[in-house]
Symmetry: C2
């Protein structure tokens, strides 16, 4: 960790007044925390270097379970998507028959569709909102997915991943100049939301997911949290919902979503629907339903209050190419869709986008490829369906294996892993471990996660990085290690955990 | 233009209290201006739609001279770069001999270098600072370019274009919470700098480039501007220099750069060196010199004051794949290098990068390809050199043609176009034109640029978007239209301008 004393010394003698120190920096950035890449990851990089140098450690490799980065752990990209992208990247291949013959015709066709629709090709700045050919594909996808009428390409912004979209919405919606704006954010939450709140001078207003009931969320809990914020005089501007949840994986039920929309509409909260895990649902009895579908269904309801809420709620929903069965994290593609958002808000979002010119074109096209798979019945479609089934099937098997293993360990309890790419088990730590953590100057979950790393090479994120109820301890781990390695990971984690629990139960 | 009355009406009846209006938004974003994509561009999009619909206008096509977007106007990408990128995009091509045989071996070799060095390929999140294989290539490039010793890959951040890098530095270096920080920015300037200042709650402290002397800059002018800011109590944190200039194209002389570094070091200003046009210098008697070379040369000087300044100045320099002879604007690749920057500053830059996970991998690899061209003597090198010479030769011819044409027009004066992609001529407008602009509720340069657009289809940016001395009027135009169209563009602009000047000289 960085401390003042480590850096108080200016870089060169004689420039004591000149050199920039922490006190000169943006204090909102200095105060922001982003746990997915924090102390544990830093330590893992040190250990990796030791392994690279041939040092002997209690494990043979570092396994990065800290981040949903599937291709880093061996997940294969979709062939169709990469074939099309390669052609668009080097359009000379499209005019060279020896290249073209090596790809199925539907690949060539899609590449030609993109190149003929983007003047200047992928090397030109696009409209700041994104390529219209892709925004149309997104609109068509949304319409087909939800079955509640058309979407408007003019309401869609293409972004460098969903994170960039969330950042843009914060920068626009949160009045940093006021210092009094707040956002309702789930606890536990993906720390993008808390980091951006600090960075934008906003209050994080926590609402709690109900762990005992599969991390579910009710409108009543949102109302409770909002009322509490109001008593503090906070102007709550937005309600962030992650569905399926990160780090918790739960998939919300429609009745709860209806209640949540009602609260948002009544209270004038902009609903930020983070739906990047919409393809990552692994149970039969629960389907992902988009907030857009819920809202538009409500708007057409015969119940007057429901219809009013559905018509008036302001909403922005986010999607990404980084998750699902695609996992194109590095390409940085995503979109957000505006629903019932005032034109002045859109104009400011557009201005913000234009200051950075546009999002990257490979990311934009990857969004197009995500929402518009190869045509049914083609060779590419056959391959695509196989690849999709293999990836999702494997994720499902790994989720179920991890869930069972975690629940078999003493003091560990894991809710059903119904969605996303993560487990967020609760651990009841022995008093001896709590005391040892305190002595080490760490929170108990950081202490535990560091011990896991030092003993097994597994990189996890302590629950405190996501938020957890006081007095409870968790960690987040992905279930992304390759299936061939999953048993070993589970075994090492289990053996370590049992030893840890024994050691600290005895020590007290 | 957006007005309050246009948007004060909430999107749905009954939600008057709920719907977000301009007053709820981030007032710093609401106040920010980014002229490169403003009123004139909006109007050009309307006209484009009219042309598409077959309407008859005084011109046959819209020519986008508002933005440095060369590939949108027909500039070809470099073959080697795109070939390598296509292989890395679809790595199956690397294991398929029928594909591999179609590319020269040096293309395959480079692609294999990248794929073997990036675990997980382009679909995995990278280190938040960027791929180390590319950062090493950048360090090697800097060392070879400057000849003043090695650069450190750990001081290099890969970014989604230079704009993203500048934004990251603002977010880190400017304490938005204070409201008292300021940045020295050239007038005229690329409006990224002013837009980000407003957005980050910072004072824009203008210094003036000397138009009469080829838009040159002296240390004395920086000192004058700084002193003025100090009298206002502004804490000036950074000094932004664009070299070669945008929109002004000038290339600074070494003696002026030394003076500027001395001022920055003495006053504790972080020098932000925007060097994205370093390959775009079109005159024989002036070479681009990087600020890094100047600073490191100073640090080794026998002159004690110079050495002290060279050793203590804090500097961040920016580069991009969007300009030069590469012009890969849409791919969004860039880097910045830290020089003499405190580790706590770097740690905060890294934290900020990690909140967005990483920049896009195609952009990162495009930076690698920019700084590490194909090996000398290969087929790819031969092609590369031809493509480079063709693009730069053509830009030089177009610059010189445009300069001569502008200087031949009545009331127009254009400084030598020595660098970048832009002309920023000064226009002396007749009093009749000033009066007509006032009546139309426009500044004179916006009035002029709109008239140019309506009559010729040429999209330019009014000087007020960049800043100009009070009472002077300018516009920025690129010299990027294809050579075959350049004569026509110049002719249409010239004919319009002569008519405009005659009309408004008579009218008074």
């Amino acid at each position: 960790m960085l401390t003042d004393t480590m850096f108080a010394c200016p870089a060169a003698a004689g420039a004591a007044d000149a050199a920039t120190t922490e006190a000169d920096l943006n204090q909102w950035l200095v105060g922001a925390e982003y746990a997915v890449r924090g102390e544990i990851l830093d330590r893992s990089e040190v250990l990796q270097k030791q392994l690279d140098a041939g040092e002997k450690l209690p494990f043979e490799k570092i396994v990065a379970c800290n981040i949903g980065n599937p291709q880093a752990l061996g997940q294969k990209p979709l062939s169709f998507n990469r074939q099309v992208l390669s052609l668009v990247t080097n359009p000379d291949m499209l005019t060279d028959s020896s290249f073209k013959e090596l790809y199925p015709p539907e690949v060539v066709e899609r590449a030609e569709k993109y190149t003929s629709n983007i003047g200047g090709g992928i090397g030109a700045y696009t409209n700041s909102q994104g390529l219209s050919v892709v925004r149309q594909e997104v609109a068509d996808f949304i319409e087909a997915r939800d079955g509640v009428g058309p979407a408007d390409p003019e309401s869609i912004f293409l972004t460098d991943g969903a994170s960039a979209g969330v950042r843009m919405v914060y920068t626009t919606m949160i009045d940093s100049s006021s210092g009094n704006d707040g956002l309702l954010v789930p606890i536990p939450q993906y720390p993008l939301y808390s980091a951006l709140a600090t960075l934008h001078n906003a209050h994080l207003v926590p609402y709690y997911l109900d762990e005992e009931h599969g991390w579910t969320l009710t409108g009543a809990e949102v109302e409770r949290a909002l009322a509490e914020a109001k008593t503090k005089g906070i102007k709550v501007r937005a309600l962030a919902i992650i569905n399926p949840g990160n780090p918790t994986g739960q998939c919300l039920e429609e009745k709860d979503m209806v209640d949540i929309v009602k609260v948002a509409a009544k209270e004038g909260l902009v609903l930020l629907a983070d739906e990047v895990y919409q393809e990552n649902v692994y149970v039969e009895d629960r389907n992902f339903i988009s907030f857009r579908k819920v809202v538009k269904t409500m708007a057409a309801s015969s119940d007057a209050a429901e219809a009013e809420a559905g018509k008036t709620v302001e909403m922005i929903s986010f999607h990404s190419v980084s998750k699902g069965f695609i996992g194109e994290c590095g390409i940085r593609g995503g979109y957000f869709e505006l629903y019932n958002i005032d034109p002045v808000v859109k104009a400011n979002l557009y201005k913000l986008a234009s200051i950075s010119l546009c999002s990257n074109t490979h990311g934009q096209l990857s969004v197009g490829l995500m929402v518009n798979p190869p045509p049914a019945g083609t060779k590419s479609d056959d391959m695509y369906q196989k690849e999709k089934a293999a990836t999702l099937g494997s994720l499902k098997r790994r989720a179920s294996k991890l869930e069972a293993a975690l629940n078999s360990l003493p003091g560990m309890s894991c809710q059903p892993l119904t969605g996303s790419m993560y487990a967020f088990p609760s651990i009841t730590l022995p008093a001896g471990a709590l005391a040892a953590a305190k002595e080490a100057g760490k929170t108990a979950d950081v202490f535990y996660a560091l011990q896991v790393l030092e003993n097994t090479g597994i990189v996890m994120v302590p629950g405190s990085g996501f938020g957890q109820k006081d007095g409870t301890w968790h960690f987040r781990t992905t279930f992304l290690p390759p299936e061939s390695e999953m048993d070993g990971v589970i075994e090492r984690l289990g053996a370590f955990h049992i030893g840890f629990m024994e050691k600290y139960s005895k020590e007290l």
